[in-house]
Subunit: 356 residues, 2 copies
Amino acid sequence: MPFDTPLMQRLDLTHPIIQAPMAGGGDTPALVAAVCEAGGIGFIGGAYSTPAQIAELSEAVRSRTNRSFGINLFAPFSPPPMPDDPGPALDRVAPYFAELGMVPPEPPAPPEDVFEAQLAVALESGAAVFSFTSGIPPVHAVEAIKQRGMLLMATATTVDEAVALERAGCEAIVTQGVEAAGHRATFAGPFEAGLIGTMALVPQVVDAVSVPVIASGGIMDGRGVAAALALGADAVQMGTAFLTCDEAGIPDAYKTAVIEAHENDTNLTRAFSGRPSRGIANRFMTEVGATDDILPFPHQNALTKPLRAEAAKQGRAEFLSLWAGQGTRLARRQPAAELVERLADEAKTAAKRLRR
Amino acid sequence: MPFDTPLMQRLDLTHPIIQAPMAGGGDTPALVAAVCEAGGIGFIGGAYSTPAQIAELSEAVRSRTNRSFGINLFAPFSPPPMPDDPGPALDRVAPYFAELGMVPPEPPAPPEDVFEAQLAVALESGAAVFSFTSGIPPVHAVEAIKQRGMLLMATATTVDEAVALERAGCEAIVTQGVEAAGHRATFAGPFEAGLIGTMALVPQVVDAVSVPVIASGGIMDGRGVAAALALGADAVQMGTAFLTCDEAGIPDAYKTAVIEAHENDTNLTRAFSGRPSRGIANRFMTEVGATDDILPFPHQNALTKPLRAEAAKQGRAEFLSLWAGQGTRLARRQPAAELVERLADEAKTAAKRLRR
């Protein structure tokens, strides 16, 4: 076996490969189970799911594999109040609703506080790993997770965040480099202070914590897997590479956009959700992102949700949130099992380059 | 020997380590020669030097080592005209001049076009490698460099830039990741479209060109060296790691700032030179960077030059351009030879991690 790290042993992994939770439909039970069966570990991104959906997704994964899988939630947070006048944000997106033949947007309903209910179901999901993004998990969650023997992971974008998560009881730290797709997970300070490249972030976090580190951000093939392990990581977490797998549940127009994107086609934007997130620049991102008519998270996310759903139906990529990282030239369409095998082979080859 | 790449063979390097050109005083002849003697290759950053200074620096390097060294220039460019009213930019920095007891700033003189004279001297410098940043070297320079048997290198921040440089005759490509210290070298499009993390940029460039690739940005120790080679690079180019070496010619206040900086203490700023550049955030960067009262490059650079020189004398780091990358927690004070040896040892250890 070419790679063998403490985290791999703990989770009985053949390959140091974690499929990133991608709340929003990418990580279907078929994808999660395929990654697990191939010797990596797949994650259910439950953050946007109801407790009933989380139960259903977990059951669907368990029915497909006996291997370990993971579940992810956002750390709980208090949403900011809706602005006194959400009118400008509604007016800003109304023409796009009209363009798709939809009724005009309504002010989004106040978000429900579902964390405790999500947590309760996730604790009974049968997952072997429980991960959090965008914050420190609360004490009662940490205790309940450990009581069940689940491995507790969380995401850091800076060294200070990694140290805070270790202190809170996290047993592995995922580093989110600036290259990464999707929402910035920065929770200690403004997101601009957490935009560190994976090459710099991983070794500095490895030096600062004593738990295993999992590298994410910009890793798209086996060369990246080997590089992350050379930096001191115990495994990698990859999202974009799995998005274009056959089992991923995103619209085909989204997969096509990822396959065709160049490394410099992504930007960070608040336009879709109100929270900075990396995706492929498209019409919605460019036009709405150029304005300040954007509600704070999660209100903007709720506001644009029907638009994104309809755009998916109509195959209109210009209105989809095309979350993707900076390595898109390396994206390929294939079954997930084939991707995991290819990653393992490429990583072996890359490691051999260092043995000459 | 643990590492052996085509570029190392071509340049007769013991280690795949290039000390980055750091026009502005960091790369003294003592530093350049020490890196060469230790089995890497040092670079003279000649961009801000007069032809006479370039001749003097080269002579000083040659007197210290018989090994190969490199020389770097900016690709020639047409400076934009001075704005009709430079007054706001002068007024903006005047209080800092006063605070250091200096006479008020004067409108900077129009920049001299010294490229051809620099090129002529650099061609006779005895350097084995000639590198360019911030553009494509002109045809006559490419021809003259190759005629002398010098290896021609240039810096790319995107795949398209790398391809354009290879087409122009460059024999090795330095990738500048977003983590990197100093000026963004982006030349094809706005700098915002060239902010790719090293982890994502290197393999995508390796796939797109057939010449050797040298990784730069965020690499601070031997783990980074091994990681870059795993990504497909033939060598690494490191700036910040060499800045705190004993031989580096920067003010001690600057070295201290680098040693003490955290990974998220840097920002991109136009405040010092008019061109986006990564450095440790300090008072000047924060206060001037918050305004639009900044002349275009190279005029702002000329405007702030006397201030930076006086601040260096007085040990006032808050007025220095503290160029540094995102890996500063890994910076150490040591002689350059010791750093090169440490990098080689650490890289060997990191490579061994992949052999288990």
